[in-house]
Symmetry: C2
Subunit: 214 residues, 2 copies
DNA sequence: ATTTGTTGACTGATCGATCAGTCAGGATTT
DNA sequence: AAATCCTGACTGATCGATCAGTCAACAAAT
């Protein structure tokens, strides 16, 4: 079955399914959907190639399963953080953006690998767009609604635009990965994730407020 | 030869080379580098597959040539607009960002197709990163320097971060393409490009200023 | 208690299709 | 006629997917 949860008793059965999903995540992150190969995934997961098809059917379904599992965790964490934000507070907007940005960057919401997949999803073609629509849009709606409330607007246009643009900034940060260092002349150290997050929130908060201003 | 500039005299030789480059641009935009096929490009350009190899050698070189030609035009246009910006003006930052955003979005700097390639480049893997470094980094440096001057900072760290994050917002807009409509419930019409540009500049200006504030 | 079904997990071998790339030679231009 | 442009036919490699079949585990029947 490809319906996960195979451990009912001990909870300690790192079935090969998990090896495959992990291997697939890394492979898809490094080479993209088209670039990744079932053979490479199988080798990385130390299983036969046929097993991938046995458990997941097709390459598309394997890919979809990777996104489904990771996005579930990220969405849960996002909504959890969002629920803690006091929408009447002065720092509400920063709080919302923190809830939006932190999970995809943190080790909890996914390995470093998935961040690449995540950014690829958003700029992706039809296949990716369908997955985004299924797994990310519902949560997106709630974030947009929260932004709308904080901005005190009636319609959601500006809020939706804010969401999109802020997400773009997040993608840039994920894709960067050494690019900022290159552009500044290799002197800088790797930035701490909290520092990055802070800058991201600063930038996006300023952007949203500027966009919302009449 | 794959060394470009085949028109030395008349400049009017719509050789099959151009058909190929155009077809390749569309194909790469729609399917990505790995997803695109030489066969498909040949068919789209109405030439034999062998001709692609005759003119460009390999798929990699064809891809690189597409990026090289488009990026050249975009960079020229960008630097042209940047040169017109008065860095002491109050609207200097908006002017810089306008110079950064407009060319990749406009029909001049590339068809709608190339915009997809452009956004893919930035989130891309090693191959794309190398191409970005070669074709976009030099111009990026000049934009970063301009931003630094306008912000009145000494080091370029904040300016470089601003550049990166602003570029992320641009990518989000390019990748959007109907996504905003989806998130708001298909009521909205397609936005005019000038309107989009204005919002993009608004957002990014606000973001940069917020980031630059102590 | 041992034999006999039945199942899920897994693999090696191999399928047809498609991939990028090659080459000899015809067609066109100069 | 010499160089350049261009193509049909082809190659080896690799792709995702399928297949028959092995193996351990558990249940049912004897």
């Amino acid at each position: 079955m490809l319906t996960d949860d195979s451990q009912v008793k001990t909870g300690l059965k790192p079935l090969k399914v998990d090896q495959i999903l992990l291997a697939a995540e890394v492979e898809f992150a490094e080479r993209g959907f088209e670039g990744a190969g079932m053979k490479g995934i199988a080798k990385r997961g130390d299983v036969s190639q046929a097993l991938l098809h046995y458990h997941f059917g097709t390459k598309d379904k394997l890919y979809a399963e990777v996104i489904a599992q990771r996005s579930k965790k990220i969405n849960e964490e996002r909504l959890g953080l969002l629920a803690q934000v006091d929408l009447t507070s002065k720092t509400a907007l920063s709080g919302i953006l923190n809830a939006l940005f932190r999970p995809p960057l943190g080790p909890s919401g996914g390995a470093r690998s998935y961040a690449r997949i995540f950014s690829g999803l958003i700029v992706g073609r039809e296949r990716d767009q369908a997955l985004v629509k299924e797994h990310y849009d519902p949560t997106a709606q709630k974030f947009i609604e929260s932004i709308r409330i904080v901005l005190g607007h009636d319609d959601r246009v500006v809020a939706a635009q804010s969401y999109t643009l802020a997400l773009g900034a997040l993608i840039a940060v994920i894709a960067r990965d050494g690019r900022v260092e290159r552009l500044m002349g290799e002197s800088r150290q790797k930035q701490d994730i909290e520092e990055i997050l802070e800058q991201l929130i600063k930038f996006s908060t300023g952007g949203v407020l500027a966009l919302a201003a009449a």
